[in-house]
Symmetry: C2
Subunit: 342 residues, 2 copies
């Protein structure tokens, strides 16, 4: 009989393959997480599946559907706890039958209270359930989803477009354009993966932006921060019924306001919020510690004066816990993506 | 007989291979350029060589030495005009004998007046000489060398270490450390490839740096800009007999000063100058248009105030002609290298 260490190593091996399956998913699964599943009989992988599109079959169902013969005593590896609730599809726990599966190995438990509890149901059906195998990797793959449910706030992405010397606009507010067209297209794609987009009033006034995805996918819900109730209702964004936070909602304390706004957006089920500026709004979030990613675009321009990307007063010892995740370039522009590890 | 178009395409083909040879060279060849050579008989490459180290055999000699049989009617491809002067080695034109070579194809002419004239000597020796094949590539490979001779000034590299929001120090001048150790090591390596390093007096006062390569190779000559004659002669840099430009040399016009300093350094045969700051000195060079590369390091810090990397007043239309050449990262720090295309 195998000892525990061997079992753990094998389970991790198969879970890593299930994670590779999960990673095949794209943004079509939102607001669901990316999930992969693997069916293993006598240490042979006999089927794989992943959740491809919101409203369609989950990973477990896809793997089971692809089986070409009856199985017994199989192990199911699934990167996220099988769901227990009736959503767009029947609960996954219903299709994981003990006749077929003697063992289910789970990457991470489902943080969504509506869907969790699957592990317990499977145990009650006499299946041997192993939890928390490669948990961190499963959570990392679904950072937005886990942050939303675990922290009970949207996953917050800050986006800045800056000159090399840290300015997001000329002193006049003029900022069209700092970055090039390809950089801006990448922002439009990023918007299509977010549920909501937040800007301050001054950004609306300076640019009168549409804040849409420009055809790259779904448009995020527009959210405006207007603490002085001065927004012009003829601004383009009003075509899309934005959420406007005004003095009715806001107080003098930026951190309290940030918490308040995020709570409201959480309650409206916005899983991911993109904060696009300007400097004041970004500084709100930077100083609140309530953000998860920073996307900073640099154009090869140096202007010496203008609107700074951050309004505050730190020393070099201030640590925003920014971990470089990715660097890309669009012609001569650069995009850096930092994850914030809390 | 082949027509001209075919000849040109073949010559370019072989010159590109010679360029690949040249690119194998590293900084040991400085102040010589990187050169590759190829010997071709009846469209077959029978030998290759490149210049490996200053003071050792040139590319042509290396290719000829490696021949394992006598040749006649060969074509020699060489990325830079064969030298005509007695340097550390005999002139290359002496060893390119017409008994062996009926034809020599040259990438770029040698801009060094001491070494140029090789093409004419070869022609006088009854060798068919074709010039300017893949010239731009040959020049690009030796940007520093060509800039020095063609513009009669050192090749200028500006280096900046900045926070994400464009500050190179706290307001106090404190800047130890913005970037991480790996970033700083890469700067030390960069220094070892430069002949001289320039900083302003305030940088000496704020950091008292050694400005050496910290063991990574040769130390550049230290050059200090001290327009108010205030430098403390006890600063560390004085251990290495720096060149100090004072009010005797300098006027009120930064551009004139930049031209003056570069002229002096050119006359002292410094091929590459690294400008390490601070903000005032960098701004001198940025606004003079007299620079060739910009290396900017960003650390994932945001401080909101401090010493800016650039002191000036441009709009977004100001074009420094920065072309992104390379992006690297050192843990969570980023280094961007821009070439300036004049």
């Amino acid at each position: 009989m195998k000892n525990n260490t061997q079992l753990n190593a094998l389970d991790e091996h198969f879970m890593n393959i299930a994670l590779q399956e999960a990673a095949k998913a794209n943004n079509k699964v939102f607001p669901n997480p990316k999930v992969g599943a693997l069916i293993v009989v006598e240490n042979n992988i006999i089927s794989k599946g992943y959740h491809k599109c919101y409203g369609e079959d989950h990973a477990e169902a896809n793997a089971i559907r692809k089986l070409d013969r009856p199985i017994t005593n199989a192990t199911l590896y699934v990167t996220l706890e099988p769901c227990s609730h009736l959503g767009k599809k029947n609960p996954c726990t219903d299709i994981i039958e003990s006749k077929m599966f003697s063992r289910v190995v789970i990457g991470a438990n489902d943080p969504n209270p509506k869907a969790s509890g699957g592990a317990e149901i499977l145990r009650n059906n006499n299946i041997n359930v192993v939890e928390n195998v490669c948990t961190e990797k499963s959570k990392k793959l679904n950072r937005r989803f886990f942050t939303y449910f675990e922290k009970k706030r949207p996953y917050v992405i800050l986006k800045i477009a800056s000159t090399l010397d840290g300015f997001i606009a000329e002193l006049s507010g003029h900022s069209k354009w700092i970055t090039n067209e390809k950089s801006r297209q990448s922002v439009h794609k990023l918007r299509s993966t977010c549920d909501a987009i937040l800007v301050g009033r001054k950004t609306i006034e300076a640019d009168d932006p549409s804040l849409t995805s420009h055809g790259y996918g779904k448009d995020p819900k527009i959210v405006i921060l207007d603490s002085n109730n001065k927004i012009n209702p003829k601004s383009k964004v009003f075509k899309n019924e934005p959420i406007v936070f005004t003095s009715k909602d806001l107080v003098k304390d930026p951190k309290k306001n940030t918490i308040y706004m995020l709570k409201k957006l959480y309650n409206k089920s916005y899983q991911t919020l993109l904060v696009e500026g300007g400097g004041e709004t970004l500084s709100y979030f930077l100083d609140s510690d309530l953000f998860d990613e920073l996307h900073i675009y640099y154009a090869p321009k140096i202007i010496g004066n203008g609107k700074p990307l951050y309004i505050g007063n730190n020393t070099l010892t201030k640590d925003y816990k920014l971990q470089l995740h990715k660097v890309e370039h669009f012609d001569h522009d650069i995009r850096m993506v930092f994850y914030r590890d809390n």
